[in-house]
């Protein structure tokens, strides 16, 4: 048991805090301790359902990085649910973009950026944002690029 605790503490960098009680930990540390309990159970799949939403901005970035490192270190399936596109793009090796429960696109962050399947995904990956031009703004050359579809 001690070995498993040490493994979880190592993965989450909680070793110096092992003697403390959860009530004596800061928010981010407390969350990591909760994550540690999951590791301890040898879970094969981890679900983070907007788990960073209560953290302040600085902790948010740290925790996001930790999840990415943790995911690669433990080699487990990690499903991360978020509405935040940066949070989704940064640690993921595969993203499923959902709208109203319907899958809009599945792919790597680069796939989504380089080749969005539709305007919803193009808007989702909007840093920097993509500009959509109307027929009024397109030149004749611009219009000729859209032979089979209405111009945007």
């Amino acid at each position: 048991m001690e070995e498993k605790v040490a493994q979880a503490a190592c993965a989450l960098k909680l070793e110096p805090l092992l003697k403390r009680k959860p009530s004596n930990l800061y928010d981010g540390q407390r969350q990591r301790a909760a994550d540690g309990r999951s590791i301890f159970c040898n879970a094969r799949v981890f679900l983070f359902d907007e788990s960073l939403s209560n953290l302040d901005a600085a902790l948010h970035v740290i925790k996001r990085t930790e999840i990415g490192l943790w995911h690669s270190r433990l080699d487990v399936i990690t499903i991360y649910v978020t509405y935040d596109r940066v949070e989704a793009m940064a640690p993921a090796d595969k993203i499923v973009v959902l709208r109203d429960g319907i899958t809009e696109q599945v792919g790597t962050p680069v796939d989504l950026y380089e080749r969005p399947d539709n305007t919803f995904v193009a808007h989702f990956v909007d840093s920097p944002k993509m500009y959509f031009f109307t027929s009024e703004e397109l030149t004749e050359k611009g219009k000729s690029f859209l032979p089979d579809a209405d111009t945007l």
Partner: protein
Amino acid sequence: MRPQHMLVSDKKNGLVALTPTYSENLGEYFFAYFESATGEEVIAKLYERGVPEADGRVYLETIESRLHRFNKEKGLRVA
């Protein structure tokens, strides 16, 4: 088109025509601000300052692989 993929063109070759409103020279590139025909602000990262054509507009293009085409009604990618 994304701001970092826009290139200054001319009336003959440009894909879009935009009215320039302001530009910032940041040394390596310009942040150029435009107003589109529908009144939307468009900000492009350009490596040369766009000189307006006689009609007062700057024409921009992009490389083919960076141009995304979508169906207006359904929003789906075209080709």
